[in-house]
Subunit: 255 residues, 2 copies
């Protein structure tokens, strides 16, 4: 009888193939299975589930050894995983991981997140799909506080214990050691002061993206921001399908 194959773990991200968080995540993943990385050539933060439509993609193999391969692709985070699944991977992955993102994807940031774009794409495969984000915005974060949370999620995925009707948005606070992990909802809120208006040397206005997230209910214990601020990691189960099924009957009655 053939030996059982090691699981194939796909790893993507949005910070680009040279990001420290990607290396940290794929190094842990390699302890659990064969790892296939396809990540953007350049930094692709805030790219959501964007696709490259107007220009063609290219993929470049940058590392290959037993049980490990890594490509970079000149597109968005979702381009990378889609192209990989169509042409690059040796077989369909058993697990999809994304990150570790340099910075949070908490509150409503998930909708803008390329890390979560990859994770939603993984969920279409019907396999466990997990995005990781770490609340450290420094140039060279120390990702070691993420290790127990990342291992726990990978081990649950390999054991077949994570429901695959949903995917997972995991945020980890910058700290020495996380206090625990809470399964919660994304904190609703609004971005304010989203652009910094400046004037160029020719007297014309230009605008840089910036902004501050104001949660609508900051003391709510059922939301991710509450626990991140208290040193806990958070897991938000998510669906790529945004249909609000509970509203279909009422709206059918109106339209």
């Amino acid at each position: 009888m053939a030996e059982r194959q090691r699981p194939l773990i796909f790893v993507g991200n949005d910070d680009g193939y040279q990001a420290g968080g990607l290396k940290y995540l794929s190094d842990i993943a390699r302890q659990y299975g064969d790892v296939f990385v396809a990540a953007p050539t350049l930094h692709q933060s805030g790219k959501s589930s964007a696709l490259t439509v107007e220009t063609p993609l290219r993929a470049k193999l940058v590392a290959e050894e037993a049980g490990f391969a890594m490509y970079h692709v000149n597109g968005t985070p979702v381009d990378c995983i889609k192209l990989a699944l169509n042409y690059l991977v040796p077989r369909q992955p058993d697990i999809v991981l994304s990150g570790i993102n340099h910075g949070y994807n908490s509150g409503n940031s998930a909708i803008y997140s390329g890390t979560m774009g990859v994770t939603f794409e993984g969920s279409f495969l019907g396999v466990p799909s997990i995005g990781f984000s770490y609340g450290d915005y420094g140039a060279e974060p120390n990702f070691s506080p993420c290790e127990p949370v990342v291992r726990r999620m990978i081990e649950l995925a390999i054991a077949g214990k994570l429901p695959t009707d949903v995917c997972y948005n995991v945020n980890i606070p910058k700290c020495d050691k996380v206090n625990g992990t809470k399964v919660v909802a994304a904190a609703p809120g609004r971005w304010t002061e989203e652009y910094d208006r400046r004037t160029d040397p020719h007297g014309r206005a230009y605008y840089w993206l910036t902004g501050r997230y104001v949660p609508s209910d900051p003391d709510n214990e059922n939301q991710d921001l509450y626990w991140l601020q208290r040193g806990y990691a958070t897991v938000v189960p998510c669906r790529a399908d945004q249909t609000a099924r509970d509203f279909i009957p009422a709206i059918s009655g109106i339209i």
Copy 2:
């Protein structure tokens, strides 16, 4: 007593400020209120809720008359509405419209759609927010079959009859006259054959985005593709927040 102000209707899109669908939608909207358009300078299909992070934005006023203004912005669909709400609009809009997109945003395409990116952004304001897409892929579509559906949605929004806990993904089939409107879920499915692989004159591979959507349950009457194929418009109520709240208790027990 001051005369009641006409509603301010924000209109965005992803096909760019010169698209026929944008003009068609904003011309109808102007019959119901003051209209403010902020749309991408260039074609931005498939941009989801992507943000421009690495470069600054600029906005250019291209039309202004009583009750109407139009800017184009050198960014994504969501950049346009965010920048408009922060710096360009005379007051906060009462309604957000997006489209009319040239092509469907049915099935799981909503997650990749810039038209829906604008619509989700509108939903964060707590006002009725509606994205329209038309199943005509020609160079100069005739949008007139969309008119009754667009009017009905705008009139319901102005009458305060559309719940604002959700936003609306409206698809309209290419036809002479729509058979009716159905409130349904987005059809789940998978994209296949997503890239066309070619070889450049130097012998290197490149890949164009293409693909075919395969719904997992094509005969399901509760899904948008079923009705679009039968000449009906579809309305899918959607939430920007992708939290799967129904899975929180079960996953709390695992992690």
